[in-house]
């Protein structure tokens, strides 16, 4: 009543209402209050959701957590860097001897949930706004696709996770939310991807390069099925991609990653993290940071400092390439010549090589889904179903200049596929996920001489999160 009185008086002063008077919005900063109104708003929000790929907890610019957790933690690569206090956290990953405060777990958790939060924001707001139905469909599909991908990574890295499906507006909003069973997380992922494959466009124009197509959604859904050992669903979904003949293998392996084969000509890559040099904050350092530690060489073709030996191929990986495999030279250089002319036998990945650049300013994209992966997954699903599976595998081998597989039995083909995926997808952060999916992580790592524990098929939840939420139980064993 009193308040009304003063508002009345304010009105008499020519002011608007009380509430209006006390509501001011920043005019020099964007706020959430006036966002999510137009198609353009949603487009920038979707772009922002894709950009989570570059969070240090995902791919980053070259040293993201998925590199560490997907490759360095396996028999594929190690860290060619001095062991110091500063690098101790990194070696915990290589040694499979984790401390709960390790930043790679923390970053992976924060990064994926950041992406999920962004997707949730879009999905919450879309129903309330009307604009062009095609675009609206596409944005919803993209948000669902990305949310599914981020949850798929989380559930594989950490097991049961908090299932958050709407934007959280209260800082304490998730502070008591416990972990949802893996089945519930997969149900959301499948649901999202099934919706997305209907909503995403069949073809991506050059102007939209980097965005997800329905084929990317199908490939991811196939991988989700395969991971859950739903082989019939997996083979059916992957077969759709093979039959559609939209994507195919590049004739030369190296061309799948080469800058020279532009988007329009590269039918193999189905989704890649987009990079661009030129010091606009979007350059990649996959190649330059992975060159040998502290080494300078004209071979590298990179200016502006030395690499730090991240993702250094192990002798084990180098030996895995069969004689004549064209992929070895396209993936790994075995030595370099130093600036003083000395040949140093230190291997480093060249899969994403781009010369003539400043360190960290590469244009080469990082593949997340590509057709070779689809063929190998398809073969894996068929083999598990007891059906003939050699044909898709041989497509990949042929492109690598190798003869057809000689594996004839189901177990032999399993091993042949494991070997093929290893060399085909090396340095693409697939190895850890593949070994865990096929229940081979423990055996392979022990054979590699790493004292791995059975519970290490899941990473520990970051201590930051278990500290902030008492209902967040730690994974067993940690």
């Amino acid at each position: 009543m009193k308040k009304n009185l003063i508002c009345l008086a304010l009105l008499s002063l020519g002011l608007s209402s009380c509430k209006d008077f006390l509501t001011v919005v920043p005019e020099t900063e964007r706020t959430t209050a006036n966002f999510y109104k137009t198609a353009a708003d949603f487009n920038t929000a979707v772009v922002g959701t894709y950009s989570t790929f570059k969070h240090p907890g995902l791919y980053g610019n070259g040293a993201g957590a998925l590199i560490w957790l997907g490759e360095v933690s396996t028999d594929n690569t190690d860290y060619g860097f001095p062991r110091t206090v500063a690098s101790a956290g990194a070696f915990e990953i290589e040694d499979l001897n984790f401390s709960l405060a390790n930043i790679y777990f923390r970053d992976a958790w924060l990064g994926h949930y950041q992406g999920i939060g962004r997707a949730n924001g879009i999905l919450d707001q879309l129903p309330d706004v009307s604009f062009d139905a095609t675009l609206k469909n596409q944005y919803e599909g993209e948000a669902r696709f990305l949310r599914a991908m981020y949850y798929f990574n989380l559930v594989r890295l950490f097991g049961p996770v908090q299932l958050i499906t709407t934007q959280v507006n209260d800082p304490y909003g998730t502070a008591n939310v416990g972990r949802a069973p893996v089945g519930e997380v997969y149900a959301l992922i499948e649901n999202d991807l099934k919706a997305a494959e209907g909503q995403l466009p069949a073809t991506i124009t050059a102007a939209n390069a980097g965005r997800a197509s329905r084929w990317a959604a199908k490939a991811l859904l196939g991988k989700v099925y395969l991971t859950q050992k739903k082989y019939d669903l997996a083979s059916a979904k992957l077969k759709e991609i093979v039959d559609a003949n939209v994507h195919s293998l590049m004739p030369n392996y190296a061309d799948a990653f080469s800058l020279a084969t532009s988007f329009a000509n590269n039918r193999e890559v189905m989704l890649a993290v987009q990079y661009k040099g030129g010091q606009i904050g979007q350059g990649g350092s996959f190649y330059s940071q992975w060159t040998p530690f502290s080494a300078l060489s004209p071979d590298f073709g990179v200016t502006g400092g030395a690499g730090d030996g991240l993702n250094r191929p192990t002798p084990n990986l180098i030996a895995a390439y069969a004689t004549g495999d064209a992929r070895r030279a396209a993936s790994i250089a075995l030595s370099y010549t130093s600036t003083t002319g000395v040949v140093v036998n230190e291997p480093y990945p060249v899969k994403f090589r781009q010369t003539g650049i400043i360190r960290g300013e590469s244009d080469v994209d990082f593949p997340v889904l590509r057709y070779a992966d689809v063929l190998l997954m398809y073969a894996e699903a068929l083999n598990e179903l007891g059906q003939p599976a050699a044909a898709p595998l041989n497509l990949v081998r042929t492109r690598a200049r190798l003869a057809n597989t000689t594996a004839a039995t189901q177990p032999a083909l399993r091993l042949a596929l494991e070997q093929e995926r290893r060399v085909e997808l090396a340095f693409e952060s697939q190895r850890w996920f593949d070994l865990v999916r096929t229940n081979r992580f423990e055996d392979v790592m022990r054979a590699h001489g790493k004292p791995v524990q059975p519970f290490q098929v899941l990473y520990p939840l970051p201590q930051r999160e278990t500290d902030l939420n008492k209902n967040l139980a730690q994974n067993p064993g940690y």
Partner: protein
């Protein structure tokens, strides 16, 4: 009208009287009355004002207590008034000789105290409020009244952290209340709450001579009426207004000069060379391993030494170097200070006016720094109708300032640090007239230190500020006891500044790219207040009720534009180069944008007095603010207080010792809304990506909307005692208080599943407990008068809760040392935190035995291994000092004999620590350091120094210069703030030369400071208002000593 006015002034006043119709009384029949005024002990009272009632006709008694006055014959009534005595009215009744006596009054009790939205008689006051008269403010020759308040009010802690003209003053009422919000009290100038929005220091824009009184509101009872802005206390400034009857023209002038109050004794050139050679030798021996064929010796020539340990050629022969340059002499100067003010005030029954114009000019003691202020005051009150009074206050001012980056590291053009660090063998000017400098570094053994004189001459940072504070009011008496008052005012503030760094000025190379920055900031704040005041006495009951509502809006807009790529230095501003950035490019300046802030309030206060002895005050305010989240838009801030005037009780009425005794108690809630604008609103940030091989904007949520975000909540309990004894010649006030500030704004970590990692929420709690006492005694009251004002404050600050018990909020006041201070639970805010120095290793064996410092040798600093793991690292840090004083005080004495008066103000602060970064910087013989370090450093076991400073060494492997308790010093000081000697011209003489009165005076300020602190001044701090890392002395602008003389004349 005084008949001795000169013709000129008569004309002037006649003109004025056309506008201001006051009634001249010179046309009636006259008679002469003479008289003597004495006090109760029959001593004559000089200086008593004798005025014919309802006229301007009056005089004052002479030294012998006598007066003569020409009055009209129609039985006039004389009004006698004198401070400390009861005013009385005496009918002349045809007598020509009057023998009058005056009785002592409970003087202070009659005083009227300005409280929020009204005034109150001091005897009825139940809150903790201290009043300082304008006279006490004006007697300190400084640019801003805030500096002048130092030492005058219990509970008010003022530190002049910079001695630059218009420099920063840190003002705290009853301790540091907030960790993350603002800590400055609310300033209310002529009823208008002002803020520092938009740039410039608002307090510098007020001429201290224009101030009638300053009221410092301390407890919740007093401040809760200011609601969400009251928790840090309130300072109400009232400017001078005209009074009916006494028309007066005044001229106040003073001028003088300032100089540095203390110079640091630096090493001279010869000592610097010896120190440097020592440092190079020690570094060489420590870092060069012996081999079977080679043992390093200090006699080894430069040719065999690594670059770092070579002795600069210029220092090879110390004996030849002599004194060298004291760079302080080159940058500090005798600087003028002057102030002029002309004022006029007066009026008749219907219109009263007070106007003034002032000019203030203060050069800084550092070359090329200074401040000039042009100020005007125009206050008019008019009774335009029987029940309607209107009035206006206008305070326009224009301030110019010449600044330099005087504080901080010389690498950022810190002038003072550059002067201290410059090797003394470098001359100020080379023989060819060019600047002597170490830029670029002369050799690999030295570092680049730019000439402080060159920086002062070539770096330009002028600024100007135009400010207009204007407030109008209308007051209408609906009933004799019910008044409605409405005000409308605005505070306009226009600030502009420039920075110009020419290509000839660089801290590393002979030349560098020129840079220019231009800043503009303006802020407009308007305020409307509407109050009803009801005041009535019913028998034994007296009631005074105020209620009302107010609305205020503050808009500020600031831009900063940077330019570089200057082809030449011919156009020394942004127009000469290529503009490279706008908006927030002016450094980390949050003002670089448009901001808007609104506040709506409802307020009420009731005072109730029963039998003139039982007092009750209750206040409440409801504030709604745009800064608060939607769920917390409105906050309510109540307070209640009780007072008991024990001396009015019958059992104390019978005696004559106690004139007044009052007990007070108050409790209330106030808020701190200094949480920044827009913090409750969720913001979007850029997260761009590459789509279609092109950079594509992405927008994502970057912060939570927090609809619950609100003010910080202060709960304060105050218990007070007011006592006046011995004919009110001794007046004592004491208060104890307990203030707890909770719901502070914190940036906390939140679960990642929210999609964000941080959120700003309200939590945490800080406590300030304290005791403050003030004593006024009139020790002698006869011909020789001596009055003492003393006050002392004890405050204890403690953090009770942060977001977690383990949280440590690190802060640092200067770029040299990261994390020098910490705020953590159980400790005061911003304590010094670092390694604790245990001493100096006297022998290599002692160092080896200690074990925790494997690289230490004899002469190196020994640190405490707090966790006992025999490794010294960050985990061994502990609290090593407290920046908050145990107590601070003011002790002010006024002596008067006849026309002479001597006023001595002293103040002090005891039991606080200061971090001195100056000593830290220069231990390796690269930059100069103080003689103090030279004399007290460890040289050998037989010359161990003072145990604080290790050996001089370059490239020491123990890193002795590590931030530690080594650099924490006790800052306790006692300062003679001002000494003023004044002489009032005899009235007869004044009149004979056409003056109403005249006073001449001489003032010395900051004449002496007693302290063990080895730096310039324990108050000087680079930290400014950064209370999370206070009291960091790193090339702070030292406080000046000044000598001024002036004259104050009224016509």
């Amino acid at each position: 009208m005084n008949s001795s006015l000169t013709g000129f002034w008569k004309v002037g006043l006649l003109i004025l009287s056309l506008f201001f119709p006051f009634a001249p009384a010179w046309a009636q029949t006259k008679q002469t009355v003479a008289g003597t005024v004495v006090d109760a002990s029959n001593q004559p009272l000089p200086g008593v004002t004798v005025l014919v009632k309802n006229t301007t006709n009056g005089t004052s008694t002479g030294p012998d207590g006598t007066f003569t006055l020409t009055v009209a014959t129609d039985n006039p009534i004389l009004v006698l008034s004198y401070i400390g005595f009861k005013s009385q009215e005496v009918p002349v009744s045809g007598r020509s000789q009057l023998n009058l006596s005056m009785v002592g009054d409970e003087q202070a009790l009659k005083e009227v105290v300005v409280v929020g939205y009204g005034t109150q008689e001091k005897k009825d006051l139940t809150g903790a409020i201290t009043t300082v008269s304008g006279q006490d403010v004006a007697r300190v020759p400084v640019s801003g009244f805030d500096q002048a308040l130092q030492g005058q009010v219990a509970g008010l802690q003022i530190s002049s952290s910079s001695g630059s003209p218009g420099g920063n003053t840190s003002i705290l009422i009853r301790g540091v209340g907030s960790v993350t919000g603002g800590n400055e009290p609310l300033f209310v100038i002529d009823g208008f709450p002002v803020s520092g929005a938009g740039g410039g220091n608002p307090l510098n824009t007020i001429n201290p001579n224009d101030i009638e009184s300053i009221d410092v509101l301390k407890d919740a009872s007093a401040t809760a009426i200011y609601g969400s802005r009251g928790s840090n206390g309130v300072i109400i400034v009232t400017t001078k207004r005209g009074k009916a009857g006494k028309s007066q023209i005044g001229l106040d002038v003073y001028a003088g000069y300032q100089e540095i109050s203390k110079k640091l004794e630096m090493m001279n050139a010869q000592e610097f060379a010896l120190f440097t050679i020592d440092a190079r030798n020690n570094g060489y021996l420590d870092n060069t391993p012996s081999t079977p064929t080679f043992t390093p010796r200090i006699t080894d020539p430069n040719s065999v030494r690594p670059t770092n340990f070579r002795i600069p050629t210029s220092l090879l022969d110390p004996a030849s170097l002599g004194e060298g340059t004291d760079w302080q002499d080159a940058i500090f100067r005798k600087a003028r200070i002057q102030s002029y003010q002309v004022s006029a005030s007066g009026g008749g029954d219907n219109v009263r006016f007070g106007v003034s114009a002032g000019y203030f000019d203060q050069q800084g003691i550092v070359l090329n720094t200074g401040l000039q202020r042009y100020s005007v005051r125009a206050n008019v009150d008019a009774d335009v109708a029987k029940r309607l009074r209107v009035g206006v206050s206008l305070l326009p001012s224009y301030t110019r300032q010449q600044d330099l980056p005087y504080t901080g590291h010389y690498g950022s053009f810190g002038v003072i640090q550059a002067a201290l660090a410059q090797p003394p063998n470098v001359p100020v000017y080379n023989p060819d007239g060019s600047y002597g400098t170490s830029v670029p570094a002369p050799d690999a053994q030295s570092v680049s230190v730019q000439s402080a004189v060159k920086i002062a001459n070539e770096y330009k940072n002028p600024s100007t500020q135009f400010r207009l504070l204007g407030n109008t009011y209308a007051e209408y008496a609906l009933l004799p006891e019910l008044k409605f008052r409405t005000t409308l005012g605005a505070d306009l503030n226009f600030f502009r500044s420039q920075i110009w760094i020419p290509s000839t000025l660089n801290t590393a190379a002979a030349t560098g790219p020129a840079l220019a920055v231009a800043r503009r900031a303006e802020s407009i704040s308007w305020l409307n207040e509407n109050t009803l005041n009801y005041q009535r006495t019913f028998g034994q009951h007296a009631v005074n009720v105020v209620g009302g509502f107010t609305a205020q809006q503050e808009m500020s807009d600031a831009i900063a534009i940077t330019a570089n790529n200057f082809p030449d230095d011919l156009v020394p501003n942004i127009n000469g180069g290529i503009v490279v950035g706008g908006a927030n490019q002016g450094g980390n300046d949050p003002a670089g944008r448009f901001q808007d802030y609104t506040i709506l309030s409802l307020l009420a206060r009731a005072n109730y007095v029963f039998m003139d002895r039982y007092l009750l005050t209750a206040t409440i305010r409801r504030d709604g603010s745009s800064r608060f989240g939607d769920n917390n838009k409105w906050g309510t801030f109540p307070s209640a207080s009780l007072g008991w005037r024990v001396s009015e009780e019958a059992f104390l009425k019978q005696q004559n010792v106690i004139n007044d005794l009052k007990l007070r108690a108050s409790y209330g809630l106030t808020g701190n809304n200094a949480i920044g604008n827009y913090r409750a609103i969720g913001q979007l940030g850029n997260s761009n990506y590459i789509v279609g091989d092109a950079l594509t904007p992405g927008l994502v949520r970057s912060s939570f909307s927090n609809p619950n975000l609100g003010w910080e909540t202060m709960k304060q309990l105050d218990l007070g005692l007011d006592l006046a004894v011995l004919n009110s010649r001794v007046i004592f006030t004491a208060d104890v208080y307990d203030k707890r500030n909770s719901n502070m704004l914190f940036n906390i970590q939140v679960p990642g599943a929210t999609g964000l990692t941080n959120a700003v929420v309200n939590l945490g709690e800080v406590q300030n407990r304290g005791l403050e006492m003030a004593l006024t005694t009139r020790n002698f009251v006869g011909d020789f008068k001596w009055t003492t004002n003393a006050n002392i404050t004890f405050n204890r600050n403690k953090v009770l809760a942060l977001s977690t018990d383990a949280e440590r909020i690190f802060a640092s006041a200067n770029g040299q040392t990261a994390n020098s201070n910490v705020t953590m639970v159980g400790q005061p805010i911003g304590v010094f935190f670092g390694r604790r120095q245990l001493g100096i290793f006297q022998t290599d064996a002692e160092a080896t035995e200690y074990g925790a410092q494997p690289l230490a040798r004899a002469g190196d600093v020994k640190w405490k291994d707090s966790d006992g793991n025999r490794v010294i690292n960050d985990n061994d840090r502990e609290v090593i000092g407290n920046p908050h004083p145990k107590y601070f005080f003011g002790f002010n004495n006024t002596f008067a004999y006849k026309a002479f008066s001597l006023d001595i103000m002293t103040n002090g602060m005891v039991g606080f620590d200061v971090y001195n970064g100056t000593f830290m910087l220069n231990n390796s013989g690269v930059q100069n350091n103080t003689k103090y370090v030279y004399d007290n450093r460890w040289i050998s076991a037989s010359q161990p120094g003072d145990g604080r400073f290790g050996r001089s060494i370059r490239g020491g492997r123990n890193n002795n210069a590590q931030y530690s308790s080594q650099y924490i010093f006790d800052g306790s000081y006692l300062r003679i703030r001002t000494v003023t000697l004044a002489y009032t011209l005899p009235a007869e003489f004044s009149r004979s030369i056409g003056l109403q009165g005249a006073r001449v005076f001489a003032t010395g300020a900051n004449l002496l400071t007693f302290t063990n602190y080895p730096g310039y001044d324990p108050e000087a701090s680079t930290a400014g208002d950064n209370l999370l890392a206070p009291r960091s002395d790193f090339g702070s602008y030292p406080i000046a000593r000044s000598y001024t003389a002036g004259v104050s004349v009224s016509f």
